[in-house]
């Protein structure tokens, strides 16, 4: 059972990672003058869209999300609305955090870029939370503690979310340097850092879990 779950996760992660790859390659073919640096926002939103769609599809198919108690339409709709509300809530939280953390200005001309970075961060972290845990903030808080993971998916969530955030954090480091590279422009290095971190997390999670499968024991809910 362990191995099958890890294998499922590895393949799911491979699909998500390839979606990021496709989101970079496909617009390069379709859109004229596409470049990760110059038309950064196009790339960013294509990655966001791809990751979001693939995440929802994969986790929906795998049935990882907690099962709904009632299968009425009303319940499903309310669940969807709740999820959207949560996503928006965390989007605003993360965007204000991004604004403050990087010392960006609300009213400057890079507001859209700042906001886009937080959209990307929310997609990489919050959306996965929603997919795995459902709209349940208590569970989200629980997951990010040492003994909080209750399944392999929770552990992978910990790892990918942590890696994305750390990647975005590290992405700010080159900004002050005077190298005059195109990727040093705000917020390109941060979005690249977040994406690279996310991809690293996707790779690292199954490997780590496989490595530690002896030590990992999960309580049932």
């Amino acid at each position: 059972m362990w191995d099958s779950e890890i294998r499922a996760m590895a393949s799911a992660h491979a699909i998500i990672a390839s979606s990021v790859f496709m989101a970079t390659v496909v617009p390069a073919v379709l859109v004229e003058n596409f470049s990760v640096y110059r038309t950064h926002l196009v790339w960013l939103y294509s990655v966001c869209g791809a990751v979001a769609a693939v995440n929802v599809a994969v986790f929906g198919l795998l049935g990882v999300s907690p099962p709904a108690k009632k299968h009425t339409l009303h319940h499903k709709v309310s669940r969807l609305v709740k999820s959207c509300l949560h996503f928006l809530l965390f989007l605003s939280c993360s965007s204000s955090a991004v604004v403050v953390l990087y010392g960006a200005l609300f009213w400057s001309k890079s507001t859209l870029e700042t906001f886009s970075l937080s959209v990307l961060l929310s997609t990489l972290t919050t959306l996965r939370c929603l997919c795995v845990l459902g709209p349940n903030v208590q569970a989200w808080i629980r997951v990010f503690s040492r003994d909080g993971a209750m399944s392999v998916w929770d552990t992978s969530l910990q790892i990918t979310a942590g890696c994305s955030v750390v990647g975005a954090w590290l992405g700010a480091f080159p900004i002050p340097l005077d190298w005059d590279r195109p990727w040093q422009v705000w917020p390109i290095s941060c979005t690249l850092g977040a994406t690279v971190g996310f991809l690293t997390g996707l790779v690292a999670a199954p490997v780590w879990i496989h490595w530690h499968r002896k030590q990992l024991t999960y309580k049932s809910k």
């Binding site: 604004v99 808080i141 990010f144 503690s145 040492r146 340097l177 005077d178 024991t217």
Partner: protein, 1077 residues
């Protein structure tokens, strides 16, 4: 509690750091006094002429000086045999052509620059003839104008018209001196052409006109090309070829009475950088040319290969017929002057012997003046030089009086004298001392290790008798004395720096050597790789890059923010925030069984935590709007809050700022007052309470009035002008004296405890309310406070009496006295000192900075509460005794916050950004001495360092202050024994108290010291970096002085805690006999 040993240890640690800084700075920064005297035409220099020599017809009436920045010696050479020249080779053929075709008219020399080889220092060097150092004491930091006597000054004095074009550094160095000046921006290193093209557009029309006597043109293209591409790049070839063309066409414009000088100010390394002292950087080219014969003698034998840069000044001065600048230590270029008997164009020309004599006499005069002002030239060499001069002046004068030309020996000895004088000055001004730098680095590194070890082992160290300081002290003294003895025996004099180094280093080594013996028992395995230390490491790394130092304000804010988000994240990761989770059964065996806090406490503390993080983040974010701008940050607007209100034109904005400032000031005072009131520290009628109740509000009121007076524009309220002027003197002085009085009173009587005898019968009632803090009730604060800490003294007495009388606990624990404010007896005076100091420092800033101070207070408070709640929450796992020691995260946060507010109060680590106006607060007419203004400026500059350092011990107290709220009732049903005793817990464990205080102070010093060490390393490693004198050296100075100030005020804070402890002991001693009677 051990007071003196702890203070002695701290003092020793600080002293070791100081010695390290002193050593390094002594080897790195070259210091020289400026002599502010000028030569005049009346100086009698020639023995026979009697009058001044300005009236003599000069050999050249005009001069064109082309300075090609970074024209390396190699660039000017031409090797016809070189078939495949590199981009920088053989690009100036005109020089070689002229030198070979007209050997009497042209000469090429290697021009040897002195380090530091940066443009500004070099310009100063070849204009004053002296050896400029990084800090020319007496220099006006605020502007970089050259105040010493220099060629430009002398030329202007002589009525000559100096026209300048090119690098705008000159305009800053010689403001308002030039007859005409066309400066072009020099800052952008990437721009190769703006300056050069600007010169080329203007130089030929100027040459054709005749409103100039001396034309100076400074080309920057070659230097910028080196910085951008390095010398080995086609762009360099292009640039040098352009220069070749310039030289050629300028020569075409020259007339017979014009001297033409082409020179580089310094060289460049293989990578195109400069600033250091390698041969590639110091060797520049010098080319002299004139249409009339320039070199009277035969060229081949006379040509000096290498000419020190200082030598240009006396040569140019004498050729142009002006006095040699006063502080020049250069020597004339002898080949340019005719020997006696050689005929030149004019009979009145100075001969070689006359010129050398004038030169020697001027250098001797300068040395006499300088040695009377400063002692940094060694007396032996000075007296030797003096003897030399006396001897050769006697020889020279005797030959001249006999009417004979001086013999070649006299000329040689005059040259020898000038050379050795220059070398003597150079040895003391213009060389890094690598040995001293290395020694300083070693001492500092050892000091950092020492500080770290001391903080980790504070408990063990304090428990050792005499804190183990005796052996290091003895060894240090012996080491210092032995080095002094050795020096006295071998050299004949004692160099204090090396004695101190030996003392510091030997004492450090002895202490560290003894550490394994001290620590054998208590060494806990500590993981070093923790996030707070990682942040500290990143901060230190950031000091090694110029971009990060330039963006320091933002970098520190970013790190601070990261660390403050880390705290709640870690708490959540450890599971302390999820109260509902039951204790995990599957913990590894051997772990402590965690004490479970009740869910409501966890929830409330979690809320407080979130609020703290919110306040912290908010104040961090707002504080970003208060930063100033360095000149390196191109598109940066300094904060509008930085300018004094009197300079704000828009009256609505001025009023808004004023109201904002006064509101911030009021909030500052109110918050402090409120806090003291809250914890019952204002009931007593003592001196400290008087300071809090009356002096603090009064001082802030006067400050507000002072701002009103100082922010009125000068042209309005003419009728009140006298009153306003009076107010500007009286009000700030009044505030200063009030605050000084407050601090004095605080030191004399720091207790804020109100004692009230209590009827026994009253307390015996079983329904005595438990001490509980209720913040918002309708009861007046006074009445509320009666309930706050009534039982404190009971607990103390209980513990004290336990050993003496064997009374039953029921009888003994009845309180006989109530003590209000005992729970915050340590933190209240500290906070009050903080408030008083902050108010005084605020007065030294521009009025609009008051919001920054409020933010500082709020951020400090948020950090303290963050620390307190995280301590409470993690107490679920850690036993309570360990919580005396302060973990790394708050200490690193505290120190980063100090740096962050250094920037948020409008300061920058550069000399031009020092707020000199602080020296005139309360002294609008200026000062007579230099001590008071220097002190005021230092206080102003290091405000945030001072405030955070003084308040550092609060980190230890705050978890105890907040203990009330965490409510220890959950611990068990034993009502009596679990009273809230707050800071008295510290007093009950004097040993742990002193060790925790030592622990905290050494940790804070470590965090500051490591940053100093990092900036010292940056200066040492990058001493050849382009930005070393613009970025790293000033940063080092600010970091080092910040450490000095911080450590002094940490010491003040700890000393105040000790003082309170003495007072509390005395209080108990007074009370005990009474109550046990």
């Amino acid at each position: 509690m051990k007071r003196l040993p702890v203070l002695a240890l701290l003092l020793w640690v600080c002293a070791v750091f100081y010695v390290g800084i002193f050593l390094f700075v002594g080897g790195f920064l070259l210091v020289r006094l400026e002599v502010n005297r000028s030569s005049t035409c009346e100086d009698v220099l020639l023995p026979d002429s009697g009058g001044d020599f300005c009236w003599r017809e000069p050999r050249f009436r005009r001069a064109v000086v082309l300075i090609v920045d970074a024209l390396k010696a190699d660039f000017a050479q031409y090797d016809p045999g070189n078939m495949s020249p590199r981009p920088y080779e053989n690009k100036l053929p005109v020089i070689e052509e002229l030198v070979s075709s007209h050997p009497a008219h042209a000469g090429l020399f290697t021009f040897l620059a002195d380090p530091p080889t940066t443009t500004m220092q070099r310009i100063k060097g070849f204009m004053t003839g002296s050896l400029p150092t990084f800090i020319d004491v007496g220099n006006n930091f605020a502007s970089s104008a050259v105040l010493e006597d220099n060629l430009v000054h002398q030329l202007v004095q002589a009525g000559k018209h100096v026209v300048f074009m090119g690098d705008d550094t000159w305009e800053n160095l010689f403001p308002k001196k030039f007859h005409r000046s066309l400066p072009f921006p020099s800052f952008n290193v990437k721009d190769l052409h703006t300056v050069d093209d600007g010169i080329l557009q203007n130089i030929y029309p100027t040459l054709k006109g005749d409103d100039w006597d001396v034309l100076i043109a400074h080309f920057l293209g070659v230097d910028h090309c080196g910085h951008r591409y390095g010398p080995d790049h086609p762009a360099m070839a292009e640039k040098l070829t352009q220069m070749n063309g310039v030289i050629r066409s300028v020569i075409e414009h020259l007339q017979n009475d014009t001297l033409f000088v082409v020179m580089g100010d310094h060289g460049m390394t293989e990578t195109g950088d400069h600033g250091g002292e390698s041969q590639k950087e110091t060797e520049a080219a010098l080319f002299l040319y004139s249409q009339s014969p320039l070199f009277p003698g035969p060229r081949s034998q006379l040509k000096p290969e290498v000419v020190p840069q200082t030598d240009l000044v006396p040569t140019l001065a004498l050729l142009l017929g002006i006095p040699i600048p006063y502080s020049s230590v250069g020597q004339i270029l002898t080949p340019l002057f005719p020997l006696d008997g050689q005929t030149t164009s004019g009979p009145a020309d100075l001969t070689q012997s006359e010129a050398l004599w004038i030169n020697a006499k001027q250098v001797n005069r300068f040395l006499e003046t300088y040695s009377s002002m400063a002692k940094d030239i060694s007396p032996e060499s000075l007296s030797r030089l003096k003897a030399d001069f006396t001897r050769l002046s006697a020889q020279y004068l005797s030959t001249v009086q006999q009417g004979r030309p001086p013999s070649p020996e006299v000329l040689r000895s005059m040259q020898g004298y000038l050379t050795s004088a220059r070398e003597t000055c150079r040895a003391s001004w213009a060389k890094f001392n690598p040995l001293k730098m290395a020694a300083g680095l070693a001492v500092l590194a050892a000091a950092c290790v020492l500080c770290f070890v001391l903080s980790e082992l504070s408990a063990a160290v304090v428990s050792v008798d005499g804190v183990g300081l005796r052996a290091p002290a003895v060894v240090g003294l012996v080491g210092g004395a032995s080095v002094a003895g050795l020096q006295a025996a071998s050299l004949g004099h004692v160099d204090a720096a090396w004695c101190l180094a030996a003392a510091a280093f030997s004492s450090e080594v002895v202490f560290l050597w003894r550490v394994p013996g001290i620590s054998s028992a208590s060494r806990a395995s500590q993981r070093l790789l923790r996030f707070p230390l990682l942040v500290l490491f990143l901060r230190c790394c950031s000091l090694l890059s110029d971009s990060y130092v330039i963006a320091e304000g933002r970098v520190v804010t970013y790190l601070l923010f990261s660390l403050c988000l880390y705290v709640p994240l870690r708490l959540n990761w450890e599971g302390f925030l999820a109260a509902t989770t039951p204790p995990d059964a599957q913990k590894p065996p051997g772990a402590l069984q965690p004490l479970a806090l009740p869910a409501w406490v966890v929830r409330r503390e979690g809320g407080v935590l979130l609020v703290c993080v919110g306040v912290l983040v908010g104040s961090l974010y707002l504080s970003l709007a208060l930063h100033g701008c360095r000149e390196e940050q191109g598109a940066c607007q300094p904060s509008p809050f930085l300018s004094p209100l009197a300079r704000v034109q828009d009256s609505r904005r001025r009023n808004l700022h004023y109201v904002l400032s006064v509101a911030a000031l009021g909030a500052w005072t109110y918050l402090l007052y409120r806090w003291l009131c809250h914890y019952g520290n204002l009931n007593h009628a003592g001196a400290a309470v008087f300071a809090a109740r009356w002096l603090l509000p009064l001082a802030s009121m006067l400050t507000g009035l002072h701002w009103a007076a100082s922010s009125t524009p000068e042209d309005r309220f003419r009728s009140l002008a006298e009153l306003i002027a009076l107010a500007q003197v009286v009000l700030p002085r009044g505030v200063f004296s009030l605050l000084g009085l407050g601090m004095l009173l605080l030191w004399l009587d720091p207790l804020t405890v109100f004692l009230k005898p209590r009827a026994l019968a009253h307390t015996r009632g079983p329904s005595r309310p438990r001490p509980r803090y209720r913040a918002s009730t309708g009861i007046s604060p006074q009445a509320e406070l009666h309930h706050l800490i009534p039982q404190l003294y009971q607990r103390i007495r209980h513990s004290l009496e336990d050993g003496v009388t064997k009374e039953g606990p029921e009888e003994g624990s009845r309180p006989a006295v109530e003590a209000y404010g005992l729970g915050t007896v340590y933190s209240a005076p500290l906070l009050l000192l903080y408030g008083l100091l902050g108010l005084g420092l605020l007065l030294l800033h521009p009025e609009s900075m008051a919001p920054a101070f409020l933010l500082l207070l709020m951020e400090g408070g948020a950090l303290l509460y963050l620390h307190a709640t995280s301590t409470t929450l993690s107490s679920q796992q850690v036993t309570h005794l360990n919580s005396f020691t302060v973990p790394w995260a708050p200490v690193v946060l505290w120190s980063l916050a100090a740096t962050q507010f250094f920037h948020a109060t409008g300061h920058l680590p550069t000399f031009p950004s020092i707020q000199w106006s602080a020296a005139f607060v309360g002294f609008p007419q200026g000062h007579t001495g230099t001590t008071i203004p220097a002190m005021l400026v230092v206080l102003n500059t290091f405000t945030s360092h001072i405030l955070f350092a003084v308040a550092c011990p609060l980190l230890l107290f705050w978890p105890f202050v907040c203990e009330v709220k965490s409510g220890h009732g959950w611990r068990g049903g034993t009502e009596e024994s679990e009273d809230v005793i707050m800071e008295m817990r510290l007093r009950e464990n004097p040993q742990q108290f002193s060790s925790a205080l030592l622990h905290l102070a050494t940790r804070y010093l470590f965090v500051c010291g490591v940053q100093v060490f990092a900036s010292v390393c940056a200066a040492a490693i990058l001493r050849r970096h382009l930005m070393v004198w613009q970025v790293f050296a000033p940063k080092l100075m600010f970091e080092a002085s910040g450490f000095l100030v911080s450590s002094a005020f940490v010491f003040v804070g700890v000393a105040l805690v000790m003082r309170v402890d003495v007072a509390v002991s005395r209080l108990f001693k007074r009370l005990l006999p009474e109550s046990s009677r």
